[in-house]
Symmetry: C2
Subunit: 138 residues, 2 copies
């Protein structure tokens, strides 16, 4: 089974601001999004879309050898079988097909593949347990 | 630009339990996942993988005409350009390539496309603002 994804936009990351540019043919899908304070932005780690990166199943998180070798499904590594990234973002403003958000750590030009609203009663788990090696940034 | 996704597993949803069956060739990617209490499970709404479903840009959430017509990027609708689903789950147990989680509302056989750990300092926004039409379940 092969699944095909079509980018719906791209990240414009210049200076301190991040704009999510939704392609005009998808702009109707933004109706009502500005009522949410936070959104989930799904991207594709396009620079890693090479067979050897997608075959990587274990890494030292953040390339730090002091962190234990870990399965990629237990990390946010940009090397993984499907190169999906997720960012929880503060939504600042929407003008036509351009969504301003607080800074995202992604390359300029990164393909955007989905946007979803952040709904705290589904998505927020403040007390979720994490292992010791996880620090801010992973 | 076309992006190809390969399923890494499937949802086994029988009775009250949900098992995520990771395909054996990806089982090494699970190393260390059991240290997290919660995981994000990314799926593909495969039953909607038809052009007309993927062209849907606005819906009445939960097919409820009393809710305002809304862009799919402002809903969790299973009709959207890229049929990505995300579930925040309580991880119960991992045995080899089988992850037991608390019940997920997904069809038996749904393709799983990624697993990520839930990291509260990145992912939890307890006070995110939502519009009035959003209720439990959307």
């Amino acid at each position: 089974m092969k699944i095909q994804i079509q980018p719906v936009g791209r990240i414009s990351n210049k200076g301190e601001s991040t704009i999510i540019e939704i392609y005009p043919e998808y702009s109707k899908a933004l109706l009502g999004l500005e009522a949410f304070s936070h959104i989930m932005v799904f991207c594709w780690f396009h620079k890693n879309d090479r067979p050897e990166k997608r075959k990587t199943l274990q890494v030292h998180p953040m390339k730090n050898k002091n962190k234990p070798r870990t399965g990629v499904f237990a990390t946010r590594s940009p090397q993984r079988p499907n190169l999906i990234a997720i960012f929880m973002c503060v939504l600042k403003e929407i003008r036509e097909n351009r969504i301003s958000v607080e800074k995202i750590d992604a390359f300029d030009g990164t393909p955007v593949i989905d946007i979803k609203p952040y709904i705290p009663h589904n998505d927020s788990v403040p007390n979720a347990r994490i292992p010791k090696w996880v620090k801010e940034g992973e």
